[in-house]
Symmetry: C2
Subunit: 131 residues, 2 copies
DNA sequence: GGTTAATGATACCACACGGGTATCATTCTG
DNA sequence: CAGAATGATACCCGTGTGGTATCATTAACC
């Protein structure tokens, strides 16, 4: 059971780097050593962050990425949703079928409570906290 | 990001069934329909629960499984540890190396806090709660 | 004692996912 | 036009998840 995968980990580091860099744009080449990951892989991550509107991108020579919002407006939850998909701890095995199994439903109710508290926690962590 | 996998889900249902059955032993054949899973697969899960000491097993005709402790002494956390392995949200990418990356460490510190609260929550859910 | 009903132990399989690489296209600067 | 950067895709491989199959072992009952 992993809370975050490597994409999120690397993204958090890259964004932290960018938040501290205080430059108009930061290229992947400038980040990759500090982040500790290969260029192509980091690029793929940055492209996802771009599509999600978390960073904006400048193509061409001298280009790179820049944060699209203030670091305190980018949360760990957003990174997880962008890079790991929707955060459902709780996808019911029974799908569409009406749940006749009371025990399972109690379990799911419990998990839903745990999930909502967990999401509140990851939503409270921002890049500003990390920088 | 799944909190529990299917093994845990089925195990919770099976144990709930057993807790309510109030019989000396319950066989896989008696449980499989209610649990909603094939016999052989449920057997594999029950065998893991047996090795973990959560149930005891009676071989031979008329045998089956029985809970080894009271339902309020079996927690969701125990099932997860038994069937999904150790619950670490937080395995550091850097392994043994000394962490020189301050941002990453802050992240890991945050995650550690989230993890400990999450574990307290799953430790608080027992089979008795589900039955 | 043999049949039958149960678990114990393994081995195997198919698929999805995570993590990562490679390649070509596109855009901007100088 | 050359070079530096991102955009978009396609691919690969190892591992984990979910599940099946098979044979061995044990105990009850006739």
């Amino acid at each position: 059971m992993k809370l975050i995968n490597r994409d999120v980990d690397y993204a958090a580091r890259a964004l932290t780097f960018m938040a501290r860099a205080n430059k108009p744009t930061v290229s992947v080449a400038q980040m990759q050593e500090q982040v500790g990951v290969s260029g192509p892989f980091l690029r793929k991550i940055m492209q996802k962050l771009h599509k999600a509107g978390i960073v904006h991108a400048v193509k061409g020579k001298g280009g790179g990425f820049a944060m699209a919002r203030n670091p305190d407006k980018v949360t760990l939850k957003q990174l997880m949703e962008t890079l790991q998909g929707p955060l459902r701890l709780n996808d019911c095995v029974f799908g569409e079928k009406i749940c006749q199994r009371h025990a399972a439903c109690v379990l799911r109710h419990k998990i839903a409570g745990i999930e909502s508290r967990l999401l509140a926690e990851v939503a409270a962590v921002t890049i500003k906290d990390l920088a």
